[in-house]
Symmetry: C7
Subunit: 291 residues, 7 copies
């Protein structure tokens, strides 16, 4: 090069060359970073490996067969959602660095630019904490697969069926039809009612004068009947309901408790059925409910 | 240029040239930035593409036909509102940088200026966190289309009909006519009652001595009657109301629950109608309400 | 100049010249800044343009005629209040910068000064966050015209009639005559009861044994009577009162609700009148109130 | 000077001269600053000018005559209290800067000193935030004249009569004789019961069976009697008491409300007198109170 | 010196001299600082001068004679406690600066040292905020003499008799014998029950049917009797007890209130005595207490 | 080397050499660090040594024999979990430093890179605080062995059986089958119900008229009977149950309390059995329960 | 040295020498620091001197004889616990500084290393605040000897017997057998029930119709009897129990209170015994308890 160009052009040529080089390297790095992100995220959310994701999730839910396709799709979506945030971040980091390096190489002063960016950056940075918090919380929720669309969850601020999960918010619909938008960063604990099983608990207050063993036996019979009922056994109830005995001797009644394990999210239905049957049985035997 | 001017003017001429150049570049950059913002915001809030906006919103509400024009207008307003904040921000960033670069190029010391700005900036910066938080929260609320003018929402601090949404605050009018100004940053979760459907829930406490199957049947008849009533069916009630059975055996009554899915925000009206009809039916059959 | 003075005086002369120049420029800049602030603030709070203010306020309240003068005066005061804070801020910024530049130009070391200011500044800065927060909140409240002197507002910490609004605090007088000073920054949401209309809501508990249709009809008659009363219709009540039906079947009563839209802040008065008339009507018909 | 001393002493002489100059300038500046503070504070707290103080206070209380001397004394004390904090602050700032400049001029390295001060300063700075917050809050409370010694205030943490106001704390004595020290920075809102007027509110629950118009008339008579009583009219009661009608139809009673405007802090006394007279009147007419 | 030593030793000698000088100056400064602290603290806590301490305390409690020795001892202890924290702080500041200056003078690089200290310092600094907060709060509490050993205080977290006050914590013993350690920084307001006087308040609920004037007279007699009792008058009760009249017409009773000013911390004892006498008096007159 | 290569290649060769050296050293350091972490963590969580771990845990639970294998496995898992977080952290620290050193050695400007990283880093750093807090809390929970899979804990946000512990979250399943994800950093205190023993407490309210010594004796007999029952003694109950006497003389009953120490997590079962037996015994003796 | 080695080796030799010197000095300093820490901590926690520890603890508990050995052991453990944290901290500080100085001396660039450490450090620093807070709180708790193993304390989050105290957490076991881990930094106040004495308080509600002097006398007799009982006097009760008179005239009863000072942590036992005896005495005299 030194031979071809006159000496006075040499620095300029070198500068152009450097700039081109920087840009090319940056573009390649960006490509590599995107690919890396895609792979890592996919592996992390696939959960088959025993890697970070497995450790983050730390669970081996026994999932009914036939759900594999659903789970695979949910995995794919999770990977996509997380990647869609990490990729632009990587781009900004790499291209920003490249841009500043080019300006620096061309001897254009970057201090004023940095000052401007810095002031605006800090000003926004403080206010954006919550935003970043939401995104980080969302990313880990997805990686740990805490809940998915269709699950019934208790997010503290609202309880309902998940309709959508993004990195920033979770959208729920509660029992009254209200649609809730909850920021992920404000969810400190989540209760998922759609995993494994639920429990229906029915409290039956009877008068002090009632005959305890008789009531107990009667409740036991109700529990057995519902378990023998083919509309419930193994369909919504997964274990024979149990009579837990006297839960409380309050100042107005002796309270018995019946408990039944059900498939997820059907506990209310089973509890109502149990109450109906208990009431009918108590009426038949003329046992007075507390009063 | 070197030929035309005497040597001693050369630096000055170069300086003027540089300043002009900087100003021109800054103005062009600003124009480009504004356009970019307009496009990005419009696309983000149009929601037709599967881009960031779609991912942010993450929903495919089934909207009744005829609402397209309304939705389009709402989209346009959203884009306008967001753009009106981002554009001045870009201007300040670009023109500020240009200004500092010009001063620097003219060898005017900018350190004292930066110091002054810095001290005032930090002083205000701390206090302005809340402001930035409000704006960021407002921007995402708009992008995610959490609610719009006319929706009935529960914003935590207040419940009412949205009258206006700006980037900083949401204005509501509650049922008592009170107008609420709620800062967007203080809204951690929003419940929107105007999306899809609402549910009317009516609890009917009856005395312990009541005949459970009879009450149940009676409530079922009331549910069917209102569903057959052409003033309600498919007008405000969207599904046949259901009798959910015994919700609670409290220490004073056996509580039955009826539930009806209604069009959004008409649940109170339907619930009142149901109560009227249930009371009338119970009176007819001489069934005692709890007491 | 070079001709007039001996060479050794030249730097001094140049220094004096520079200082004079800096001071003059600073004074001019300050003048310009003040004027700019006056104009921007006036326009922002006038609300006629569709500019930032309109977007910030985002509302088109239908205001009764005759209030134009009041509104104009309120606007003028708002502009004055905001300007009175922004102007000294601009002065400090511009004159501070000029002072530091002069010292720097005169080769007086400013590092120790900056250190002193910095340490005191940071020490105070942390503690002054709340102050700045109050001022920013106050400025936006004024710009958005959330409330003015004479409005009845619910500021969370206190409910009452606004007696004064400054940038830092809002002064209220509650119903018991207590004067409240509320820092603007602690007001996260404001409920203004003096805009548009208010609603009087009266709950009437009647015994379970009462005849529902009869009660309903009776309440309807009371509603009509008050609407026909020339002392109320269109004077304090702006719409015919409505009987909303059974609001609740509680464990002690069947609760009916009557609702009436009134002019702002007269809901309590109307509610009391309604209660008086309802009680009289029930007594006439010998319908037992819950008990 | 150059003539008198040998050349080698020149720098030393210049140094001494510079140090003397710095010290003199600093002392003069300090004097000026103190005077300025005294004037500004006095003017700010005098409230006669329409300046910052007026804007901060934003009120024109109609004060009874004869209080001018008291108010003037209170103003003087306020000015003194604020000045006693601002003056040492200005001294530290000016003398500290002068000290550092002298050290710097004498080529004594100040970096280690600044490091030590910085580390200790930051360590303390974080913890002292609350202290600065208290002082700033106290300063504005005094400037805005929110309350003074002798006022009965509700400071949130405690309610009582103000016994002392300093910049850091407010000392109250509550009705039980407890002395409360409340940090000014923890007071987010203050309710002052000693400004203008107070309201005595008396609720009278009567049985459902009571004759509403008769009760109302009776209460009206009681209100008139107390207003005619020369021991109350214009002495403690400032307006004729009003019967507001039925405040609530609760599930146990029909509640009437009487309201009377009193001079500040005498509402409890008036309310007790009203209750005595109402009870006596009801007994005379044999109207049953709720039960 | 230049004459005695060979030229090559000169810098070394100068270095040693400088180090010795620095150490000597530092030790003198430390001595001076300690003395200054002792004096300032003693004066501040003596409260005789009208200086900062007086302004901080802002009170002129009328203290019974004979307490002078106790108060003087308490003052001395306070001064000692505060000084014991400020003195080591001054030592660290002065000796640390001296150490760094010596290292710097000896051309030993101090940057790595500062880096290490800085990192550890910041790490601890954040966590130590609370500690500094406690110490600052404790120092002001002592300076303002908010409470001392033996006072009964309400510190929010606990109520009891002060057993010890250090800069970091206050130790209380509550009525149940529990010993409480409360961090001074967590005390936002303190209620001291041992200053001046306390008030005993006794509420007497009587049946609706009771004769109000008769009850009032009877309570008045009880109040006079206890005031005439030499075991109470001026011993524990400092003013004649007052009958305040009807405090409330609740839904179950008419509530009368008697109030008595007592010496500090004896209100419970007086209230119990009053209740005993009231009960006895009511029994004598056969007036039914509410029920 | 100087001999083999022409002089102009020397710097390049030195550079390459330096880079290789840096990389090699970094890789070795990383290896060493990983090994060190593995060892330290294993030792820390083994708890056999009296080192930091012992001091952190500070407990010597008497564990039933046969649990050694379980405990060893739990220890191994804990060590693995902690190591899996510390190792990548060490890698990033060492390799990042190496990378920057290489760039610096090759005279590639790293300032722009640092700027970019810094801005992104701070932006994320603020938001990631919570994340780091969770990880630190998790690490110490594991080191201190506060709970493990299978324990029943009260984590404040939720109570249930631990299903998984990761560094960021703890997964519980509550009694109703709900699965809770609780962030470790939000757990300020943990109550573990599965260590050592639990206590069943049964309150028995009896009527005022009951004969206290008789009731006491009867309860004592019930306590003895259950202790003699081979299904409970030493199986679930670990000490003879005690009758604690009258716990409260409330306004409706005299409340007796029986207490029984059980094996962990079986207190509810024992309490129910006790209630059944007490009720039966009271019925036999015809002692009335409160009412 | 200059004579032995060729000139070109001199700098290297000097470097090696410097490094050796630095390492040696660092090791000596570390040794000294460790010893200093051991001494200071031991003295601080021994509490015999009147130094910082005495001032921090600020108490002179009268401890029963025989506890000296226990106290000495507790002191030794405290010193050990605190030292085990301070020693590694000192090591890190001294060795870290030495390491950086060595690198600097060898002209190895340390800026990249500092950058890496700084970024990781700040990232972790924010999250580790809570950790440092816990440790500082724990250290002061130990120094002030607020509680020890075996004490019954109220830590806010949990109440129970202390089982272990480490610098980060306190382990308690509550009455139900639950083991609580409470982070020291979250404990803002501690109530220790095991120091000096406890008080048993028994409230006895008697009917309105009861004869007050008779009840009082009867309670007095019960108090005397238990004091005469050799199983209680001076064994668990340390002062003759007192009858405090009528604590409250509530709307359902006249409540008497008996109070007894007991040895620490035996108040519940004494209260139960008192209730038993009071109930028996009331039964004997046929005085009706409230109802």
């Amino acid at each position: 090069m030194e031979a071809v160009l006159p000496a006075k052009w040499a620095p300029l040529a070198a500068g152009v060359l450097a700039v081109v080089l920087i840009v090319v390297v940056a573009l390649i790095l960006r490509k590599v970073a995107h690919r890396l992100i895609t792979q890592v995220v996919r592996r992390a959310s696939s959960g088959t490996g025993g890697g970070l994701a497995g450790r983050l999730r730390g669970r081996q839910t026994v999932q009914p067969e036939g759900l594999d396709a659903v789970a695979a799709e949910r995995r794919r979506q999770r990977a996509e959602t997380i990647g869609s945030v990490l990729r632009p971040l990587a781009s900004i980091l790499i291209l920003g660095t490249a841009g500043l390096t080019v300006l620096d190489r061309l001897s254009i002063p970057i201090a004023p630019l940095l000052t401007s960016i810095g002031i605006v950056g800090v000003a926004i940075g403080f206010g954006a904490q919550e935003l970043v918090k939401d995104f980080i919380a969302g990313m880990f929720m997805l990686l740990e697969d805490q809940y998915g669309v269709g699950d019934v969850i208790d997010a503290g601020a609202a309880v309902g069926t998940v309709e959508a999960v993004t990195l920033r918010i979770t959208r729920l619909r509660d029992a009254d039809g209200r649609v809730w938008y909850v920021r992920n960063g404000t969810i400190t604990r989540v209760g998922n009612e759609s995993q494994g099983w639920s429990r229906a608990t029915v409290d039956v207050p009877v008068a002090y004068t009632a005959d305890v063993p008789a009531v107990r036996e009667l409740l036991q019979r109700v529990a057995e009947e519902i378990w023998e009922d083919s509309a419930f056994r193994d369909i919504v109830i997964v274990e024979e309901p149990q009579v837990w005995g006297i839960e409380q001797i309050s100042d107005t009644a002796v309270v018995f408790r019946i408990s039944a394990k059900t498939i997820p999210s059907h506990q209310a239905e089973v509890a109502r059925e149990l109450r109906l049957r208990v009431k009918a049985a108590l009426d038949r035997e003329a046992i007075t409910i507390a009063g």
